[in-house]
Symmetry: D2
Subunit: 285 residues, 4 copies
Amino acid sequence: MTTEAPDHWVLTLSCPDRPGIVHAVAGVLAANGGNITESQQFGDAGTGLFFMRVQVESAATEADLESALTEVATEFSMTWSLDRVGRPVRTVVMVSTAAHCLNDLLFREREGRLPIQVVAVVSNHTELAPMAQFYGVPFHHIPVTRDTKPAAERALLDLVDELDAELVVMARYMQILSDDLCRALDGRIINIHHSFLPSFKGARPYAQAHDRGVKLIGATAHYATASLDEGPIIEQDVERVTHADDAGELVAIGQDVERRVLARAVRWHAEHRVLIDGHRTVVFR
Amino acid sequence: MTTEAPDHWVLTLSCPDRPGIVHAVAGVLAANGGNITESQQFGDAGTGLFFMRVQVESAATEADLESALTEVATEFSMTWSLDRVGRPVRTVVMVSTAAHCLNDLLFREREGRLPIQVVAVVSNHTELAPMAQFYGVPFHHIPVTRDTKPAAERALLDLVDELDAELVVMARYMQILSDDLCRALDGRIINIHHSFLPSFKGARPYAQAHDRGVKLIGATAHYATASLDEGPIIEQDVERVTHADDAGELVAIGQDVERRVLARAVRWHAEHRVLIDGHRTVVFR
Amino acid sequence: MTTEAPDHWVLTLSCPDRPGIVHAVAGVLAANGGNITESQQFGDAGTGLFFMRVQVESAATEADLESALTEVATEFSMTWSLDRVGRPVRTVVMVSTAAHCLNDLLFREREGRLPIQVVAVVSNHTELAPMAQFYGVPFHHIPVTRDTKPAAERALLDLVDELDAELVVMARYMQILSDDLCRALDGRIINIHHSFLPSFKGARPYAQAHDRGVKLIGATAHYATASLDEGPIIEQDVERVTHADDAGELVAIGQDVERRVLARAVRWHAEHRVLIDGHRTVVFR
Amino acid sequence: MTTEAPDHWVLTLSCPDRPGIVHAVAGVLAANGGNITESQQFGDAGTGLFFMRVQVESAATEADLESALTEVATEFSMTWSLDRVGRPVRTVVMVSTAAHCLNDLLFREREGRLPIQVVAVVSNHTELAPMAQFYGVPFHHIPVTRDTKPAAERALLDLVDELDAELVVMARYMQILSDDLCRALDGRIINIHHSFLPSFKGARPYAQAHDRGVKLIGATAHYATASLDEGPIIEQDVERVTHADDAGELVAIGQDVERRVLARAVRWHAEHRVLIDGHRTVVFR
């Protein structure tokens, strides 16, 4: 007879708020020998929804845990997921020619700072193939023209399916996705927009920012949805600029903000810290 | 027969970590008709302690809740407290002549931004009496010399007792407290130190900071303990400075940091968000 | 014969950019025994304008300095001003009922942290009269209704003239000014807008921000112009918020940002650090 | 006959403060057809030194400019330098095994965001050779043991000489340099220390920071001098941490701060924005 070291699980759930949820969930976990190491709950008075994230150590099998959780989830009409803490999330990164976000994501993965496994880099250009190669990630060139866009999107979706990718990251991919593609990847596609949304939607946000004379520029990571630049915001940050910074310098300064905002959003998503609450997000940091 | 609107409670607890704590606590709350609106848990692998803060709506009486919680607290050897959400904490503020922290605390209390009730301002000087008076708070002048220090500290403690004060805030009170006083107020006396501890302990930290040529200055709110400037840190923040800021300007810039760091620490303490974990703190924000 | 300690002057200027400006200005100052203690220059390649701020110690009389500067200013078509470093700028503060910005400005003035002299507090309400009185500043109640608005604005302008006020600060004054009033006070009226412009223009910005689910909220200090919320931005800052902060909490958090952004903008204006460059500003910090 | 486009120069200088410096320098520049595009001056009342940085467009030859500047420099006992704006500074980067700072510097150079040319990566280990190779930079393995340290330092200095390197960056090079080496590279060797100096000097600063329970961690870029961790500070920054971050997570969070603090310090040095003022720095940003 051997004693197994317990596994470390992360459970997330949301459901209509009512008394007894925490007790019921904690009961299921206790009955499976679970020891809670970290947990957060939040009830949104506006939407009437309750959100919960639990990290728990348990020696129970995944099947036993899932079966027990299914029961309580049914009772409370929960949307829920169970995963191993730290399991790398299979991720496709989409880029055009700008390298700063890609470099940051691949470097962090390599250093063990980001619980993702980049299974493919997809681009409508070829400039970033060597960088993908340096980090040992397959590079897929899928060119896009007005005429080939539907075919290109089908190729992307096929690749996502084939690779069992769980997450798609638009790391400064300079193409607008079709509504159908956004819907097909609903809740698992993250975009980085190079402005502090809702300021400066659309094209050339740094030129707009310079023209308006703002004193801070920002970046916004959000789930991509059919409404351009309107998806649920995961993370935002800003950097101070001055009158002396021209539009070109805003681009350079902004790239630093973009890459760190995107890296945080991807990490929190991959750690199951982001729950969607209508067109807003709950982020259990 | 009438239906009472449920009260809103905040429960905090810490105890040796082991499986079943959350389930047991949630069970007590559920049995008393409780609905959890916000909660956080944390297990410190270093000290082996478990920390929990729960906000819960319940129509049960305080006596029933306390009785039920006492039982589970005994079982798990918990240190715990139960309070009404938003109840103003009776607070004594100690000052010397610098007004910036006092003005900030009194103004925030008046605006309903800080769940405290300042029941006395105590000072070894008289300059700030008019400000206390403007905000309708009794002002107590307790002068301190080397010879009268023990008597002055006794007078302070008597006042704290007499006023049922739960919290003492040293809002730039420029006297070093005796070890006995620190012990008597253990865990309920907050000091603001005008540096980013552990840098620049002791006197004249801004002069030290200017001499060292630092590029950021900071402030630290901590529980006062017998070891000067070594108590558990509650909150810290910094502000950018440049070569052009002389020591006097560092003082001015620093006062902004001091007052906002102190205000946050007092708010979190008064909202029962700060739990002491050895010589560190757990802050459930 | 006595030796006078030299006066400390601040000179600001802007003019079409061309070679020789700094040399000419420095020459005038040197000819008047001036010693430059701090200076900054900036050429805006976009507008073709050159901006300069100089702090200089000189024993020359104001008349001599002005006469010498007038000559060079004419040669280079300069807009310029000369003032004593640290001279308090005569300021009218306009408020409605929110106290946080007023309290901050009056407190900073009292502490010697802001080179302004508030010569009047003007309000369309009476709630803040006691605060003005505590700080020893005359309070003027000028009610505004749709019908009396033109008369109220005339009363304000008369007061500004009568008091020789150089600056008007809208410290959360909840009335929209007429275009005529904005023009009459062009370049010397500062407004604090409670959002990170250009996000959330217009009314109820915190409700808008909460609805959009942003992760940072901000405030913007700008010169008021005929185009609402479109005047040249002087300063902006942000604070982090979370999903757990409802619209009411955003207001509370936002007030901290508003008051510090407004205080910085007023200080920089009063120190002659802000120069207008079209619909943008140059800020020599 | 052709008209040359003017060159863009950056002049920095420091000297004992006295009237007439700016006028004299501006005069030399004007006499050489110079148009000042950006300039900053600062007089340090504490040390009595005056500092100046000027960017100027001029069609004069480098020899003419230097000759004219030498004259005025002699008159005012100036320390000065003249360089072309944007000329890449020849840089040697020293590393051990941590890759985050090296990756950041090489990536920024490649993107044209950092006016340096890394002419060699030197390491006492071999792990980072592939990264240097990917970016096309020669990698030099110079092992160090207690016995070989003097020889290793000589090899480094020989390499610096041979490559005409102007700057050495210790990008998490985990060896303590000898006093002689620090002196040989005085003012042109930058170190990144992984704490907010003067907090947590010496080894294992993140473990120290976790033990003390600080709420912010930081990093400090400074010129390396014979006094360990005491050299003039160029830049510092911090990041917020919580009770839930263990020492390992502080390391991860800290690496983000380290790399951006070091990148800023290197950029400002390479742009001639950093002037040494005793054991402090003047940074004209």
